[in-house]
């Protein structure tokens, strides 16, 4: 504690039990219904009706105590009693309805996602009817943009009032916010007096801020600095797998890739463990399918043959042979265009590893850098493969990813998958309510994608957090990345 007093943040420590947290994205608005950096929920200001249970990776009660909706369209949600907003007003059914209504007015994304036709509030119970049978409705309420706030407060952008353990005391757009303990928190007030939640987009600067003692917890320090951080006494580095997958998207509209054996060859060529070890320095998990293996609907896969020899075998089955060091079929060499983009720094490196491994078996891969993958891939079809990164179960349900990526209508269906069998499975999933049956269908869809190698999955990157372990107590690095500042967080 003595040593800490010489650090620049000593003034903050005089306020009592205080933690400084540094996050890697900044925000200019705290409106929980539109802010896509989800700072209000991450900073412990707001809460949603349901949350993700990080241990079981299922949807768990939060502001809602229980829910029913066996037909998938008529939902009854019972709210928790005795919850108050940070201005002391009770959280009633009417207040929750007003908050959900506002979220749908302010954000077209929320409106699209919830598909709500009508909401009726009766005391602490909500009756919600969706526009269509929509079984993943409850899991969509995990979305931080559905946070419950008191809409009678006027300045939502700069001072949202929620139900969380911390209430906002000041906000500097793009720089930081200060929150202090809300004594009336329903789940037990925090032992901390306050938290500083600051932003810095530069990974190097984040690591240095932790080492200088200016902050206590940093999100995603620079991977290259981890050895230095680990060597520093009192700093702990923690990493946990996320719901994100780095994948190799295959453009099924290209003649060569219409052959499943060529796609299998591509899949076999990806040296997943090497990529995890060399590019992510071990901070990731090799992926077989899109979903994190710990999710209830992640299939267990039969190990398929991998490596250069397996790839050559597959290509031979597809009619290719090695002529003059080139993989050829009917006199034409196999040449592929691979898209990648710099916004996620590890993707271009993965592309390079793939390129060099492909070259070893006589395949020419041309790497093309693009800016915004979503736009480019949707508008241009002059490519074969693309590195892409996607959240596959952000709210603990497979519906989002399967619909967006494999349904013919999906906005992220860049592989151009239009497989009636797969579409039928997804359609059936969209009609199924019971979580167990949904899990079976999601698993079947993931199996189908795997068997037909519609896309190939490389790895699940980890979220890395470093913190001062001599000071911070009860920090949990969550997989969902939604819940950061909680009422359990404390100092030693």
């Amino acid at each position: 504690m003595l040593g800490a007093c010489s650090s620049p943040s000593s003034s903050a420590k005089e306020q009592g039990k205080h933690i400084s947290f540094l996050y890697n994205f900044s925000t200019n608005s705290l409106d929980p219904h539109v802010d896509s950096s989800y700072v209000p929920i991450r900073a412990g200001i707001t809460e949603t009706l349901v949350r993700l249970d990080e241990d079981n990776l299922t949807v768990a009660p939060w502001l809602a105590e229980s829910w029913e909706g066996t037909d998938g369209q008529n939902w009854k949600i019972k709210l928790r009693d005795n919850v108050t907003f940070q201005n002391g007003k009770p959280m009633t059914g009417d207040a929750v309805k007003a908050s959900l209504d506002r979220a749908m007015t302010e954000s077209i994304a929320v409106k699209n996602a919830l598909k709500i036709k009508s909401i009726q509030a009766d005391g602490n119970t909500l009756q919600i009817v969706t526009t269509q049978p929509f079984p993943e409705f409850i899991s969509e309420l995990v979305n931080p943009n559905t946070s419950i706030i008191d809409v009678t407060e006027t300045d939502v952008v700069n001072k949202p009032v929620g139900t969380g353990p911390f209430l906002l005391s000041s906000f500097t757009p793009g720089s930081k916010l200060e929150v202090k303990r809300y004594d009336g928190y329903w789940d037990g007030a925090s032992p901390l007096d306050g938290v500083t939640f600051a932003f810095n987009e530069d990974a190097n600067a984040r690591s240095l801020a932790l080492r200088s003692g200016q902050v206590d917890i940093v999100y995603r320090p620079e991977i290259e600095s981890l050895d230095t951080l680990n060597a520093e006494p009192g700093i702990k580095v923690e990493s946990t797998s996320t719901f994100r997958v780095h994948q190799l998207t295959m453009n099924m509209e290209r003649p060569a890739l219409q052959d499943v054996n060529v796609r299998r060859a591509m899949d076999a060529l990806i040296d997943r463990q090497k990529i995890v070890d060399t590019i992510l320095l071990g901070h990731g998990e090799a992926a077989t399918g899109p979903f994190l293996p710990s999710l209830p609907f992640a299939p267990t896969y039969e190990p398929s043959p991998l490596g250069a020899d397996a790839a050559v075998d597959y290509l031979q089955q597809a009619g290719y042979s090695l002529v003059n060091g080139q993989m050829q079929k009917d006199g034409k060499p196999l040449q592929l265009t691979l898209l990648t983009y710099p916004a996620r720094a590890d993707l271009p490196l993965i592309a390079q590893v793939f390129q060099s491994d492909a070259k070893k078996i006589g395949i020419q891969v041309e790497i093309r850098q693009i800016d915004t993958p979503e736009d480019y891939m949707a508008a241009n079809r002059d490519w074969d493969l693309a590195t892409y990164s996607n959240l596959t179960a952000p709210r603990g349900d497979a519906g989002y990813y399967l619909n967006a990526t494999y349904h013919p209508d999906g906005a992220l269906n860049f592989s151009g998958a239009e497989d009636p069998k797969l579409t039928a499975i997804i359609d059936q999933l969209n009609r199924t309510v019971e979580p167990e049956k949904r899990a079976v269908l999601a698993e079947r869809a993931a199996d189908y994608v795997h068997d037909n190698v519609i896309n190939s999955f490389v790895l699940h990157p980890s979220t890395i957090v470093a913190y001062n372990e001599e000071k911070v107590k009860n920090w949990i690095t969550t997989r969902s990345e939604y819940y950061m500042i909680t009422n359990k967080l404390d100092v030693m």
Binding site: D202, A209, A404, A411
Partner: protein, 314 residues
């Protein structure tokens, strides 16, 4: 004076129209539009149809000229639009960040003056001495080192090792020190060399010799005659290099998490937040105009010859 201002004003109007039109074209022609950000396709299930519908609703399917005309109409009504991302009025957001950026630019200029004035003067006065060699070496290093890297070194030294200064954020003047030092160091190298050569030029001029002949002290010759005479080219370059200074501010703001408009525009470019980018360009054009006018006016004070020329020709 009045005529100059009116002429400047008309010039600016043309300039603003030109710059906003060109930037409008470039921003809209660049790949990507905000629809995907607004719909949050990264995390929410969206169909192609919904994407197309929003594109239509936001007018992105209209011809560029129609879209620009609409923007211009709003501009005349002093309506600069709202950010697609935060829903806040663009001008409110920019004005919120402007003080921080001006603070940082001001701090950098003070550092620059503190470095460039003495170093530039000394190397001109003691030409080819060790101080001249050292200052030239420093300016080469200064010009070669990227400012973000310099910033990281300063953070490491003053924040981590010595623990004297905060490494980020905006909490009073103390947090202004490191970012303005970084930016000031980065830009001062240009001015050290410029001031040196301009001073050498002045010191060789007739009027300096005349002043010497009159027996004025070297100190007075330097401050009153030579330095004043050598400032106009330095200030001209400053007017021109204002753009790169602003560019430098953007990098420094991101590195030090300093909440100015540079950081704001980086975010808005990433998210294709058109109204905010457009508003930023407008405000920057206005600032460049004001600074250039001040630069023009300052010549008349620094170099009385120009006032004479104007009288003769006008």
């Amino acid at each position: 004076m009045g005529r100059i201002l009116i002429r400047k004003f008309l010039e600016t109007l043309g300039f603003v129209l030109f710059i906003t039109f060109i930037s409008f074209l470039f921003i809209r022609m660049a790949p990507g539009d905000p629809v995907l950000t607004i719909l949050n396709v990264d995390e929410l299930s969206v169909s192609q149809e919904q994407v197309e519908a929003l594109r239509e609703e936001m007018g992105f399917n209209q011809p560029l000229l129609v879209q620009y005309g609409q923007w211009l109409l709003d501009f005349v009504r002093l309506d600069f639009g709202q950010s697609y991302v935060t829903g806040q009025p663009v001008m409110k957001m920019i004005m919120g960040g402007l003080p921080a950026t001006l603070e940082l630019t001001g701090g950098a200029l003070v550092i620059m003056l503190l470095i460039a004035l003495p170093l530039g003067s000394l190397s001109a006065l003691y030409r080819n001495s060790w101080i001249d060699h050292m200052s030239r070496l420093l300016s080469i290093i200064g010009a070669a080192v990227p400012s973000f890297w310099l910033g990281l070194i300063l953070i490491d030294l003053f924040g981590v090792r010595l623990g004297w200064l905060p490494t980020m954020g905006r909490d009073g003047w103390i947090s202004l020190l490191l970012p303005s030092l970084t930016l000031g160091l980065a830009i001062s190298s240009v001015y050290v060399r410029l001031l040196r050569s301009s001073l050498l030029d002045s010191l060789g001029q007739e009027f300096v010799r005349a002043a010497r002949a009159r027996g004025y002290s070297e100190l007075r010759i330097f401050w009153v005659h030579a330095l004043r005479h050598s400032l106009p080219p330095v200030i001209t370059v400053f007017g021109v290099s204002l753009g790169s200074l602003i560019g430098g501010v953007v990098v420094i703001e991101v590195l030090f998490a300093y909440p100015g408009i540079g950081k704001l525009v980086v975010d808005s470019i990433r998210q294709r937040d058109y109204p905010l980018i457009q508003g930023y360009i407008l405000v920057m054009a206005a600032i460049v105009f004001v600074v250039n006018t001040l630069v023009d006016l300052s010549y008349r004070y620094l170099n009385p010859e120009m006032k004479l020329k104007e009288r003769k020709t006008g």
